[in-house]
Amino acid sequence: NAEYMGGHTRLSEGYSILSRDVERIQSIGKNCVIGQAGFHGDNQFLYKVLQTRAKIFEFDHGQALDCHSTASLLSNLLYSRRFFPILSYCLVAGVEQDSQGQWKGRVYGYDVVGSFESRPCEATGEAGTLMLPLLDNQVEFKNLGPNAERVPLTRERAVGLIQDVLQAATERDIMTGDFGQIVLIDKDGVQQRRIPLRRD
């Protein structure tokens, strides 16, 4: 009934660090956030377009975009540039109410041309491949032996897991580091916090 998203705040260009303080996770609507990796210019452009479309939706429909609608909209926006892609590796995460009124968390992962899928957990970006196996193991309990402990994922454990996963990525990926931005989305909205990461 809640979602966590973690990102880092380093902006790099080749071997230079342009900024240590660029936030990559931003909110759309009340219960949804988008995290973006890839080309920063395209990320900013895409976010502006998405925000504008979200506002238009609110004016047209009288209610905020919910999570799966945002996800679908993003997919269409990305595909509209199929032949000159927006180089943005996005993740959309949020909570929405299902038909019984229960709040459920969802994460959608994308490629640059808009194919998307809702999954229990997802990681993207330069270090995405470093983080995803660890998440598979601890969130979906994949590749665990029959006697291994399967610890249920509570909120505290989820925060700890995201922190660990960001630290692990920072150790092994040169482009990841400086600060981690961790965002909690639940039915009351979005909360953020920052953790320090290695600056080398």
């Binding site: 900024s19 080309f39 210019g41 900013q44 452009f45």
Partner: protein, 232 residues
């Protein structure tokens, strides 16, 4: 608003039809400026650039200012192609004049200029006809120091320090260290100008297209002042 601004037109629009040479005109900068650096201090920002325009390895113009003073709170400076810089300078100053004519008290501020510049640079890059400039936009935003960077690819970010070109490699580390050690609230104008001058000196020593005539702009509560000095 202005029909004279060509910044939104591609090279092939301007010349009618396409030729290979015209398509490739935007593929490299021609007459270029060297690095620029800037950083926050307690009451504002300091930015510096040198006064040389290079034409390849020729030092073409020795007294060229790459700063655009938009108003007493907003200044921007760039490196890269000087023709593209002059186009943007013309456009920005035209818009400032239009704002004066409107006379409604609304003026440019650093964040507005930064945003606009990023949009222009991003759109030109998306049309594969970039304005070959990396900008530093600095000033006072709501009384607080503001420094924003906009690259020729349309990326933008804000930070307490910024540099373009060679300065990215040589000056950012120095400014970052200084700011993290002292904290922006403890850095006076003199300290900031000293660090910036040292950065420009280092760039002069080690960068082939830097010069020793430099221009420093300080934007603070006392307004915007500029100073030209020669490095030893």
């Amino acid at each position: 608003r202005s029909s004279q601004a060509d910044y939104h037109r591609t090279a092939s629009d301007v010349h009618g039809g396409t030729t290979n040479m015209i398509d490739e005109m935007s593929a490299r900068p021609i007459a270029t400026g060297s690095s620029v650096v800037g950083m926050h201090f307690k009451n504002g920002v300091v930015m510096a650039s040198d006064c040389r325009i290079s034409y390849g390895s020729l030092s073409r113009y020795r007294d060229f200012t790459r700063f655009i003073k938009v108003n007493s709170d907003t200044v921007c400076v760039c490196n890269g192609d000087s023709a593209d810089f002059q186009l943007l300078e013309r456009t920005i100053l035209e818009q400032v004049r239009s704002d004066e004519i409107e006379n409604d008290g609304i003026q440019y501020s650093p964040i507005k200029l930064h945003n606009w510049l990023t949009c222009v640079l991003y759109n030109r890059r998306t049309r594969i006809d970039p304005l070959w400039n990396n900008f530093l936009v600095g000033g006072l935003q709501d009384g607080k120091p503001y420094l924003g960077m906009s690259t020729m690819l349309g990326q933008s970010w804000t930070a307490p320090y910024g540099a373009t070109g060679f300065g990215k490699h040589m000056s950012i580390g120095k400014m970052r260290d200084f700011i993290e050690k002292h904290g922006v609230e403890n850095i006076t104008e003199e300290m900031a100008v000293k660090i910036i001058t040292e950065c420009m000196q280092q760039l002069y020593y080690r960068s082939t297209d830097a010069a020793n005539e430099i221009e420093i702009y300080v934007v603070s509560g006392d307004g915007c002042k500029s100073e030209k000095t020669t490095l030893p």
